[in-house]
């Protein structure tokens, strides 16, 4: 009896697919801008096909059965690609859950006069699809997290440029919060650049650092000490009044480090270290001559 039901479900695959796609197409939240209808049809067809093929009496009540591995694989592929395409979690959820409606509809047609069995079978199908849905969400979130991680890496890569402001003077504007891994990147970039350009002075500008706590200060001190070990002088500039307050309140000792309020004054100090000075060309000369 049961396997008969399953068989007829499998036989009605086309009908289920049609019903499901119809459900999806009538949904007002359908994102035709992100995915074409043919693409949607291909995805749906593949999923229904594999799902019905692997469905049997025993695993109907066991959503974790290894028989469903291929189904989960397809779901994972779909949800990750949807996460990258910019679908919202709700849209991806509706995609899976609308399959349930189609299945239940077919089930109702199969069992028109046995409400008890209809109820029992509906519950089983419902539970199975729910588990698929949850699984889809998990992979969807994983997909999103991958996107976030990649972006974090990119930001870290972009945001640490070492600028050569003058012969022998490097500047490194730091924007964003300094954590251990970023300090490592900053330090390595700076030291490498010092070696390559044989620069004697490095200016670390922290005007773009939102807050300085003891850990960030520790990282700054480390960077300055490493630069000093390399034989270069390191100046920290761009210290805002609030940061000066926090540093003193936290009891951080920056006395061994040259600090300047602005990049301009740091540059001036760097010039004086190199025995250079910037002068305005005198205008009065004309009148004297």
């Amino acid at each position: 009896m049961k396997s008969n039901l399953l068989k007829s479900l499998q036989k009605k695959k086309k009908q289920i697919l049609e019903l499901w796609i119809q459900n999806q197409l009538t949904d007002p939240n359908l994102r035709e801008d992100l995915m074409s209808n043919t693409e949607l049809r291909v995805q749906s067809d593949e999923l229904v096909d594999v799902f019905l093929k692997n469905l049997n009496d025993t695993n109907l009540t066991e959503p974790d059965s290894p028989d469903f591995e291929p189904v989960f694989e397809i779901l994972a592929g779909i949800s990750i690609s949807r996460a990258r395409q910019g679908f919202s979690p709700r849209e991806t959820g509706i995609f899976v859950f609308s399959l349930k409606e189609a299945l239940l509809e077919i089930l109702r047609q199969e069992l028109p006069d046995d409400p008890l069995q209809l109820y029992n079978e509906s519950m089983k199908i419902s539970r199975l699809i729910d588990s698929f849905g949850i699984n889809t969400f998990e992979t969807f979130i994983k997909g999103r997290e991958e996107v976030i991680l990649r972006q974090t890496d990119e930001i870290a890569e972009i945001s640490t440029p070492v600028i050569r402001v003058w012969d022998g003077i490097l500047a490194l504007p730091i924007i964003g919060t300094l954590d251990s891994s970023r300090t490592q990147v900053v330090m390595e970039n700076l030291l490498q650049e010092i070696v390559e350009t044989a620069s004697g002075i490095a200016i670390l500008d922290i005007s773009g650092v939102p807050a300085v706590d003891s850990l960030v200060a520790q990282h700054l001190i480390k960077t300055v000490s490493a630069t000093r070990l390399m034989g270069a002088e390191c100046i920290i500039s761009g210290i805002r009044p609030e940061i000066a307050q926090t540093v003193v309140h936290l009891g951080i000792d920056l006395s061994g480090i040259v600090t300047k309020a602005t990049l301009a004054s740091a540059l001036k100090y760097a010039f004086s270290l190199q025995q250079m000075e910037v002068k305005r060309i005198r205008q009065e000369r004309k009148y004297i001559d």
């Binding site: 030291l191 044989a198 000490s225 490493a226 070990l229 390399m230 034989g231």
Partner: protein, 130 residues
């Protein structure tokens, strides 16, 4: 047994470490260098570690020791050409080498040494002239 040569350049001693130091070699270098400073009355020691790619806490300590010992014997120590990786390692080990002067390369190190002992020598010369 390998030995690290110590070259004399005027009032300075020049040590170029071309190989990765192991503990025994570093200890010998420390002893040799202090002997040499004492014998020649050198005013400065320049250690070039541009070819050293690996350091440990022991090496860091030896460099610090050499600087302190030379200081007692009235000679300044300049370490030049430290690799970025070495600098980061020393900082992570908590060895900022206080008391050791550093420079980017031998040329700048020499300039630094000259400027460190320059004024005194001049005053010596003045004394001789008088």
């Amino acid at each position: 047994m390998e030995k690290i040569p110590i070259l004399r350049m005027g009032p300075f001693l020049l040590v170029t470490i071309q190989i990765d130091l192991y503990d025994r070699l570093a200890l010998n270098l420390e002893a040799d260098l202090v002997q040499m400073v004492n014998k020649t009355g050198a005013r400065g020691v320049l250690i070039d570690i541009s070819a050293v790619s690996i350091v440990d806490s022991f090496m860091g300590r030896i460099i610090g020791n050499i600087a302190s010992m030379s200081k007692i014997l009235d000679a300044e120590t300049v370490v030049v050409g430290m690799q970025p990786a070495v600098a980061i390692t020393l900082i992570e080990l908590g060895l900022p080498l206080k008391g050791v002067h550093t420079a980017l390369n031998v040329e700048k190190g020499m300039e630094l040494l000259k400027s460190k002992i320059g004024p005194e020598e001049e005053s010596d010369d003045d004394g001789d002239a008088d």
